[in-house]
């Protein structure tokens, strides 16, 4: 069992990293031939960095758009972020003080994450417009994350797991020195679904994570009158035309 999980996580990690890297390379290779920032847009690169940071951290566009979706969506993501930070302690031998302190708040992030996800799921089921655009995978993602969160809560507050052993297992993974994993049911579920999530991420809508940063509508500087902006394929096209009809 331990070996299966060790193998699973090694595979999941590789799929996640290779899959995401391939996608990021693809996104950066495809040219963006014309300036299409949604205006008003920043006039400098620094301004673009601020625009993207606000979208990433605060979900500004979503806030303007729909307060309920923003509330639940933002709650879920911030909680997820805190939860992920908290999990770092499984991968660092001597946990640094900030992480130790975070743990006190972090315990409750699992609950807020669950609430956020539940809100999003309810919206998806009961708002006709959102229901209309949902395919099965959209519900499954929310359910998957809720089960991960729930199994985490169970381990933390109801049927405790041997955390020290888990830490040995995860540290062992990093060192390619496989250790035994406790085999209680909530932990098995929790870890299995996390691995599933890691493996599916590069093939799914969770590609919104790199996608946000590659959206030309948000990451371009508004300076088309000052600078020309020619994609390689467009330059080739120009060259061909000039050859065809010399001026």
């Amino acid at each position: 069992m331990s070996a299966f999980y060790a193998l699973l996580f090694t595979v999941a990690f590789l799929v996640l990293i290779i899959g995401l890297t391939k996608k990021i390379i693809q996104y950066s290779r495809v040219p963006a031939p014309l300036k299409i920032p949604v205006t008003p847009a920043p006039l400098t690169k620094g301004g673009v960095a601020i625009r993207l940071a606000k979208e990433t951290i605060l979900f500004t566009a979503l806030f303007r758009s729909n307060k309920w979706t923003w509330l639940f969506g933002w709650l879920f993501h911030v909680s997820l972020f805190v939860v992920l930070l908290n999990h770092l302690r499984f991968f660092i031998k001597d946990v640094p003080l900030p992480l130790v302190l975070l743990q006190n708040v972090g315990e409750y992030a699992a609950f807020t994450m669950f609430i956020g996800l539940a809100g999003l799921l309810i919206r998806r089921i009961f708002v006709a417009r959102v229901k209309y655009i949902s395919s099965p995978s959209d519900y499954l993602w929310l359910i998957l994350l809720m089960v991960i969160g729930f199994s985490g809560i169970v381990m933390r507050f109801i049927s405790h797991t041997d955390i020290v052993a888990v830490k040995e297992f995860s540290l062992g993974l990093l060192a390619f020195d496989w250790q035994a994993l406790p085999t209680d049911f909530p932990l098995m579920v929790h870890l299995f679904l996390v691995a599933v999530l890691m493996i599916l991420l590069p093939f799914s809508k969770l590609l919104h994570i790199p996608g946000l940063f590659f959206a030309p509508t948000r990451n371009q500087v508004d300076n088309p009158r000052e600078e020309r902006h020619i994609a390689p394929w467009a330059a080739e096209l120009d060259a061909e035309k000039n050859k065809a009809q010399p001026k």
Partner: protein, 511 residues
């Protein structure tokens, strides 16, 4: 009127119920081969349409980062679902921006992603069939490429980019739209969208000169093909004859005359509009743009100034330098290209224009931000100048100005309902229904603040308003050009208006 019902004003803007299939149908007239071949399209459905469609899709995915990223990054959050004026006006769920994208995304997933190849049901992927293509044709011609949805999308997904790609793919398998392609062909053959030949244009401009001189006593010039002027004026051809467009053109002439800027239009490039944008064709946008460069060189001008037109300004501001540059032969002291409003606004700031606002005292104005100017370009030297400059010019020409509801202006503006290549009679139902949110906002300020008229800076908006206003119980001529207001208020040096004003002062002083 027509065989559909004009939507009722809603009590208050509640989110619409969905009504599936409400706008199902065949879409606008399909183009004919004679228009297509000039533009580089086959003009009929080829036998291997399926491969051709997928090939073209793959090609575009490899050329446009926007398309590739947007196909992947939609999170189905639903934030955009109530933002499109066509959904609000028609209730058809396929007019929700995300569903519009999904028409293509479902095919993308099926043929270009792992999940869709092996688990199509799970992720909602579908096979490409002729029915799918027909549905694309119908619903990708119910999008005015206005970008309102992209403002509200947390991922910055711009449905207009998807629509343009879809239209380009459709055109490559013989399903181009007649209206747009016929117009582009006219631009290539005759020089403008309306097919106005040079001599007709010259006659119109001569009449204008006479009319303005009669009104003001000032010999304002409206030149065509005159070499060596300061500026080439690029304006939508509707400005040459349609109401209220032409009153705007009269206004540009007066302003430029007063500032001592000589200018000309070109008979070969007598059209600022660039429908290449609407059909999503880089090639055709470029070909249409090159006319401007060639005209500027031929007429030996130093500046290029654009008249009031929304998507033309997008192409001019955002793409012209890239597509037809570098413009190193023009005077670098002026923005290239420059918007007529930037010229007028700058002159007002410097106190170079005398305005008699009382001429417009019978009006209470509001302003309709055109989508392509609001969300796809800029005026002036800071972000958002495109909102402030037209308003400042209106307020310099008219004492009474009221903005519409803040959710319906500036970068949240609602499309007039006729943009993006949809300003055709065969789409009248869609155009009237899509105008609903704008008409509601207008209704509100007419009732609450006594607004009488609405000004716009886009030829398409102006034409669309003259059609939609009567359907919603407004006067057809409530729509005005911004430079029409300027034209009424401006007091040119040596004009009758100047004599009247200064004369009246003296008389008052005497009595």
């Amino acid at each position: 009127m027509a065989d559909f019902e004009t939507p009722k004003f809603r009590e208050y803007p509640v989110v619409p119920q969905i009504k599936e299939g409400e706008m199902a149908g065949d879409g606008p007239f399909v183009s004919r081969a004679e228009f297509d071949t000039d533009l580089g399209y086959p003009g009929e459905l080829p036998e291997d349409w399926k491969e051709k469609t997928l090939d073209k899709m793959g090609d575009l995915l490899g050329r446009y980062r926007s398309l590739q990223v947007f196909m992947d990054s939609c999170i189905k959050c639903g934030a955009c679902t109530d933002k499109c004026h066509y959904f609000i006006g028609t209730n058809d769920p396929k007019n929700m921006p995300v569903s519009r994208q999904d028409l293509m995304r479902k095919v993308y997933r099926r043929y270009f992603t792992f999940a869709g190849k092996y688990f199509p049901k799970l992720v909602g992927a579908v096979d490409l069939t002729e029915d799918v293509l027909d549905e694309w044709y119908n619903y990708y011609h119910q999008c005015s490429e206005c970008r309102r949805c992209s403002v509200f999308c947390p991922m910055g997904i711009d449905t207009a980019e998807v629509t343009m790609a879809a239209r380009e793919i459709l055109a490559n398998v013989g399903k181009a739209q007649k209206y747009s392609n016929q117009i582009i062909q006219k631009v290539y053959k005759i020089g403008n969208n309306l097919g106005l030949p040079g001599p007709a244009l010259e006659g119109i401009l001569e009449d204008l000169e006479e009319e303005v001189e009669e009104d003001t006593g000032v010999p304002v010039k409206y030149n065509m093909d005159k070499e060596g002027c300061d500026a080439l004026l690029m304006t939508p051809s509707a400005d040459f004859f349609a109401e209220p467009h032409i009153d705007g053109l009269i206004g540009y002439g007066k302003v430029l005359h007063e500032l001592g800027i000589t200018w000309t239009v070109s008979s070969e490039a007598s059209e600022a509009a660039n429908f290449g944008l609407f059909i999503g064709s880089y090639d055709n946008i470029q070909r249409v743009s090159m006319r401007i460069r060639e005209a500027a060189i031929k007429l030996k001008v130093k500046r290029i100034i654009f008249g009031e037109c929304g998507h033309a300004w997008r192409v001019a501001y955002s793409f012209l330098n890239t597509l037809a540059g570098p413009f190193d032969f023009l005077d670098q002291n002026y923005p290239i290209p420059q918007h007529i409003l930037e010229v007028t606004y700058g002159a007002l700031q410097e106190g170079k224009l005398r305005m008699n606002k009382e001429e417009n005292d019978h009006l209470t104005m509001t302003f309709h931000d055109s989508c392509n100017i609001a969300r796809a370009s800029r005026m002036g030297d800071y972000p958002g100048g495109q909102f402030d400059i037209p308003r400042a010019v209106i307020q310099a020409a008219c004492n009474n100005f009221v903005d519409m509801d803040s959710d319906t202006i500036k970068d949240a503006t609602f499309c007039c309902g006729g943009g993006g290549g949809l300003l055709t009679d065969d789409l009248m139902e869609l155009r009237i229904k899509g105008a609903l949110p704008r008409m509601e906002a207008l209704k509100q300020v007419t009732e609450e603040s006594g607004v009488t008229n609405i000004a716009a800076i886009c030829a398409i908006c102006k034409s669309q308003f003259t059609k939609t206003l009567p359907y919603y119980g407004f006067e057809m001529d409530a729509i005005m050009s911004v430079h029409q207001l300027v034209s009424e208020a401006i007091v040119m040096t040596g004009s009758e208006q100047e004599k009247d004003l200064d004369g009246t002062d003296e008389e008052e002083a005497e009595s």
